[in-house]
């Protein structure tokens, strides 16, 4: 079972590093604020994006078929995969068919979700992640801790050490420009040697059969244009109906993600190069199941900008790895329970329901409401721990009767006033480990009211 509270406590124990992590991600949130507040019609864009996504999800079968038809007419081979295993087998099949053994990959959370890399490696394929952050976590044999900035949990000294060991860079040189240049050389060699490229997909346009991939580094295009076969893996929820819709989504995506007015490269792949096969794999892997859940359907509108992570006060203070899921943070906490409710049942509780995630979301996913909904389902499925259900069940019975409540309150305050301070503020109690309890007054408000407003007001 994923144990967010314990993992978060460990993260916080290194207090200085936690504070650095919080600050540097809060910076991304601040940049997002500057970028979005410079667009007067921001809220209108969010509404349109939300409506377009809801419309697409409501007619997903139609748009998938339109997309397949268009892409096929463009000379692209379209595949369908109901599960992660099917997806991985399709990729391997394509690579074998093209006698490819060296594949470069640009950032794709879907392939993380499908655990594609270990599968291909076990089948003799070399896979190189080419986004710098993703390459860093790959070399560390970790998963990304953030969906936009995968190595956000690492300091430059960590990267320096890693590169010294793996890429033989100068010992102790932690200058980010130096390290980036060294990575560039290392990756350029892999681009030139690759015989296949795989990318994730940001948007897929049904009416034109186009897949759109957004990067800042240019790694998607270098791979796709240098490889002998190009593969694009996408979840079926990435569809949008029209070419024109890209106007809305490209205005929202980078501003929400990093505060840039647009990413450096927004690449539109529609037709293959001559003699270079192009494949698109449409992956379900639990998405239709999420679509069937009325309260959680909207989570499929996500465009993976990461803004909900950047704004989440819990994410910033507990780190992406504390969630134990492929997609961390608020959006991960509403997507992942749908995959394994028992395993991920602590995740919807890793939130104060402050609602910042929902307001920052460029497609208006009601994330905090969905977290609340998952909590209800977790309780109904009897997955709540007893230390929650027993006292709260008792409280429920007390709250339902005025007299019971008055008595319980009187007794509790009586005890709190008489117990020695060390016991009231015992560090064994989670509340008072770091916090004092409030002073217990002799009279409740109700008692004051009865004495001071004896006949009502």
């Amino acid at each position: 079972m994923s144990q967010h509270p314990e993992a978060a406590a460990r993260f916080i124990a290194d207090n200085e590093r936690m504070a650095w992590h919080d600050r540097s991600i809060w910076n991304a949130r601040k940049k997002r604020d500057l970028a979005s507040h410079s667009i007067e019609e921001w809220e209108q864009l969010r509404s349109w994006a939300s409506d377009i996504k809801e419309h697409t999800l409501a007619h997903l079968d139609h748009y998938l078929e339109v997309f397949e038809k268009q892409a096929t007419a463009n000379g692209v081979k379209v595949h369908w995969a109901a599960t992660a295993e099917e997806h991985n087998r399709i990729v391997l099949g394509i690579l074998r068919e093209n006698e490819a053994r060296h594949m470069v990959k640009s950032k794709s959370m879907l392939t993380e979700e499908c655990h594609l890399n270990p599968f291909l490696e076990a089948n003799g394929i070399e896979v190189i992640d080419t986004d710098l952050g993703e390459r860093i976590v790959q070399l560390r044999e970790e998963i990304p801790s953030h969906i936009v900035t995968p190595a956000i949990h690492l300091k430059k000294e960590d990267v320096s050490k890693l590169f010294e060991e793996k890429l033989h860079t100068e010992p102790g040189n932690a200058d980010p420009t130096y390290l980036t240049r060294e990575a560039r050389k290392h990756l350029r060699a892999h681009f030139l040697a690759c015989d296949a490229a795989l990318t994730g997909v940001n948007f897929a346009v049904a009416e034109t059969g186009t897949v759109v991939v957004v990067t800042n580094e240019g790694n998607s295009d270098l791979g796709v244009h240098l490889g002998k076969v190009q593969i694009h893996s996408m979840g079926i929820e990435k569809l949008i109906p029209k070419w024109q819709d890209l106007g809305i989504f490209t205005r929202l995506l980078a501003r929400s993600a990093t505060g840039q007015p647009i990413s450096i490269y927004t690449s539109h792949y529609t037709k293959p190069r001559p003699d270079v096969p192009m494949h698109i794999i449409l992956v379900d892997n639990g998405r239709t199941e999420q679509l069937s859940r009325e309260h959680f359907r909207k989570s499929l509108a996500c465009i993976r900008c990461g803004a909900c992570m950047n704004t989440c006060p819990i994410y910033r203070r507990s780190g992406g790895h504390s969630y134990g899921s492929t997609i961390p943070g608020p959006i991960g906490s509403i997507l992942t329970p749908g995959k394994d409710l028992k395993k991920y049942s602590p995740l919807p509780f890793a939130s104060t329901l402050c609602g910042s995630c929902s307001d920052v979301c460029p497609v208006k996913i009601d994330i905090h409401d969905q977290l609340y909904r998952w909590r209800q389902i977790i309780a109904e499925e009897h997955l709540l721990p007893k230390y929650k259900t027993i006292p709260l069940g008792l409280a429920g019975r007390i709250f339902a009767r005025g007299k019971r409540y008055d008595q319980a309150g009187r007794i509790a305050r009586w005890w709190l006033r008489r117990l020695p301070a060390w016991m009231v503020n015992s560090r064994l109690n989670a509340w008072s480990k770091h916090r004092d309890l409030p002073n217990a007054p002799r009279n409740s408000f109700k008692e004051w009211y009865e004495q001071n407003r004896p006949h009502g007001s």
Binding site: S36, E43, L353, C354, R435, E450
Partner: protein
């Protein structure tokens, strides 16, 4: 005007002075306030933990206690948000349920309070009031929206409102979150307090005693030179 006063359970039990201030403030503004005696809790602690079903009798009780009022006012954004947003429609009371500042500004039409509070004050806009009830503009959305809480506070004589680095980040209370995610909750609270301290606040105020109770607990444990006050106490600090 007859107003049903809803005093949430933790205020009733631990912060009765906030209930008194709310009552006196509303009376001073000319409302006829009735406090129905059988009231308990809105049921939020259960529901936020997932136990909506176990909370249903509490909802029914709330509805019964507050039947017959056109307006129900509470000194809490969070409890009001729970009633208007999470109660099943058929369990909601007939009358309109208001957070105190919202009621004063948007129902009574009062934006100036004749109160005096000569202190440096930091406002903690509790999330459920801010983003749930939209009592003001949050830092995420791009909109012009009057801020009812700030409007009332700013009208208080002698008050100096300090600006924060992160004006509306959550304080980390979150109900049972404060217990189950103790480490994060405490860290968020400490960060919130140091933001107020850095900007010279002597008093932290807000619309919700729950957040303030969490912050006060940390302040007292650390022995910091800072206090918490519910906004009703400041607005009722009569000239």
């Amino acid at each position: 005007m007859k107003v049903g006063l809803f005093i949430p359970c933790y205020i009733d039990q631990f912060y009765p002075q906030v209930g008194v201030a709310t009552l006196e403030l509303l009376e001073h503004l000319g409302c006829q306030v009735v406090y129905p005696p059988g009231q308990t809790c809105c049921g939020q602690p259960l529901a936020n933990t997932g136990m909506e079903k176990a909370a249903q009798p509490t909802y029914d009780h709330f509805q019964e206690v507050f039947s017959g009022f056109d307006h129900i006012v509470a000194p809490s954004g969070s409890c009001v948000y729970h009633v208007v947003h999470h109660y099943p429609v058929e369990s909601r009371p007939q009358g309109k349920v208001w957070e105190l500042c919202d009621f004063i500004v948007n129902h009574l039409g009062v934006t100036q309070i004749a109160a005096s509070f000569p202190h440096k004050v930091g406002l903690h806009p509790s999330c459920h009031g801010l983003r749930g009830l939209r009592l003001g503009p949050d830092s995420e959305r791009v909109e012009d929206r009057p801020d009812v809480v700030r409007t009332l506070l700013a009208s208080v004589s002698g008050i100096e409102l300090v600006d924060l680095d992160r004006r509306d980040e959550c304080c980390g209370f979150g109900g049972t979150f404060a217990i189950t995610e103790e480490a994060v909750s405490v860290q968020m609270g400490l960060d919130k307090i140091s933001d107020h301290q850095r900007h010279g606040a002597e008093i932290i105020t807000g619309t919700d005693v729950s957040c303030l109770m969490h912050l006060e607990g940390l302040i007292r444990r650390q022995g910091l030179p800072l206090q918490t006050r519910h906004i009703a106490e400041i607005l009722n600090a009569r000239l």
